[in-house]
Amino acid sequence: MQLDQLYQEIILDHYKKPRGRGLREPFDTEAHHVNPTCGDEVTLRVTLDGDRITDVSYEGMGCSISQASASVLHELIVGKPVPDALTRVEAFTELVGGRGQVEPDEAVLEDAVAFAGVARYPARVKCALLSWMAFKDALARAVDPSDDNSGEIKVGA
C-alpha cells in the first residue's frame, strides 16, 4: 500500500523515539527555520571541533516526517567531518526532491533511505527538508563566521 512507502517503520521509529532531541550547550551556531504553509518549526544547533561535527541538537514541532528527519539527521551527521556531512545533505536533498526517480545510496544515507517514499508526495518534501536546511544554514555560519545569514529563514511557501 502507498501509505506504507511514506510511513516506513524506520520513520515511525524515529518519530516515536527521536535521537538526540533537545537543545544542548555549548554550541557554535543556531538556526531557526519555519515552514509557513503548515507552521512547522525547528531550532537547530551545531557544535564543531575543528573540522568535525561533535553535536547537532534540535527542538521543534511538526509532523512525523519533519520530526523523524531531524532525528535521522542527528544520527547521520554527528561525529562526521564537515565535507562528509555536506555530501550527506546533498544526497538527502536530491533523494527527497527526486520525485521518486532517484535511487538512494545506502552507504551514504543509512536510515535516511527510508525517506525515498516521501519523494512521491510533493506536499511533504518540505517537511522532510526542514531540519536539513536549518542544519545547512547553521553549519555554513559555523564554518565561516563572516557569513551574514541571520539564521532566520523561511522555506519558500
Partner: protein, 436 residues
Amino acid sequence: MSATSTVIPSGMPQYEGQPRFDVAKIRADFPILDREVNGHPLVYLDSGNTSQKPRQVIDAINEHLARHNGNVSRSVHTLGTEATLAYEGARAKVAAFINAPSVDEVVFTKNSTEAINLVAYSFLNASLSPKGDPRFTLGPGDEIVISEMEHHSNIVPWQLLAERTGATVRYLGITDAGRLDESNLDEVINERTKIVSIVHYSNILGTINATSRITARVREVGALLMLDCSQSVPHLPMDVVAYDADFIAFTGHKMCGPTGIGVLWGRGELLAAMPPFLGGGSMIETVAMSGSTFAPPPMRFEAGTPPIAEAVGLGAAVDYLSAVGMQAISWYEKQLTAYALDALQAVPGLRLFGPKVPVGRGGTLSFDLDGIHPHDVGQVLDAEGVQVRVGHHCARPTCVRFGVPAMTRASLYLYNTTDDIDALVLGLEKVRKVFA
C-alpha cells in the same frame, strides 16, 4: 438522515418544519463525486477550501466559451453584445442572491482577498488625497477593528493599511468556547474607529458570528462595517439590507462557482465616494494626456478585461443554489453538523475547536487528534479517500489562541452525507492505529 441527539427547544424552528432537498439527486449533479481516490470512493470534506462544481456550472462555462465568447462593454458586434449581456446578467443574479438594493453595488473581483484589499486601498488612496472623503481618510489616532478569528486575508490588508497611514489595528478576542469575545466591544469599537471588518462565518472554528451588537455599536460611533462572508454566502441565506453592513466580500469558488471570480458588495453611496483601486481600461470616463476621470461604480473598480466566463459560471452557481434553496441548504447542513459533532466528539483523543453545539456554527469542524500532527492525520485520511484540510488554515492567530500550530479541518456542504462523516470517523481510527 438519522436522528441526532441535539434537541431544539420547542417554540424554536424545528428541522421538520424546514424545506428539504434530495441529497442523492444533488450528488448526481456533481460529476467529481463519482471518482475514486487511492482506490476508495471520494469523500470530499474540504468545501471550506473550495467547493465542487455541479454539471450545470461546468456546462454554463463551456457553453459561454464555445458559443458566446467576446469581450465585454466595448464591442458593437453580436458576440460582444452576447458576452456583455451574460456578464451583466451574472451581476444581476448575484445582486438578487444577496438582496442588494442596486445591481451597481456588486463589484466583480478576483476573490474575497481582492475585495477586502479593494476597500483597504480605498482608505489608503483617500488618505493620500487632499480631496479624500473623510469617511475613508485615516491617520495616526484612527483605529481599525478586526478580530482574532480572521482569515489572513482580513488581517494583512488592514495591517498594511495601518502601517502606511499611522492608524492602529485593534482586535476583538475569541472566548474558550470559540465565540467572538464581545465583553469589551464598547471599548475596542469607539469614537476613534473608522472601519470594523469581521468574519461572518469562521473558516477555522465554524463559528457564525451574531452581528447585530457589532452593527449597533458601529453605527453608534459612526464607523463603517465590513463582513467577510467568504464562508457564509455559500451556506446561508444572505440579505445585505437585513444585515445592515456597509461592505461584504465573498468568492465564487466556495459556492459551486469557478475560481477567479469574487464579489465586493458595497453600499452605493460609499462606492461612489471611493477613489479608484486599479487603473486601466473600462474604469474610466475620459482619458486625456493631462489626466483622467473615472466611471461610476461598479465599472470604476473593474479595470481591464474582467473574468467573463467565470462571472457566467458564478451566475450559474447562484441559479443552482437558488433552485435548491438557501434555507433548505442551511438547515440540511445544520442537521449534518449536529450528526458530525456527535460523531467526532465520540472519537477517543479528539479535541474539537470552536462551538460544540450546532447553534451559531456551521459545518466547519476543526480538531486535534491525540496530538498527532494534522499533516499525518490528513495523509492517512487521504489514503482512505477522505479529503480534509490540514495546517493553520490561513488563520494563524486563531491556532495560537488555542495553543496549537495546526488543526485538521473537515468542512461540509450540501452534497455531503452522514456516510461521509462515518468514513471520516473510520479514517481517524486508522490514523490512531498508525501513530499509536
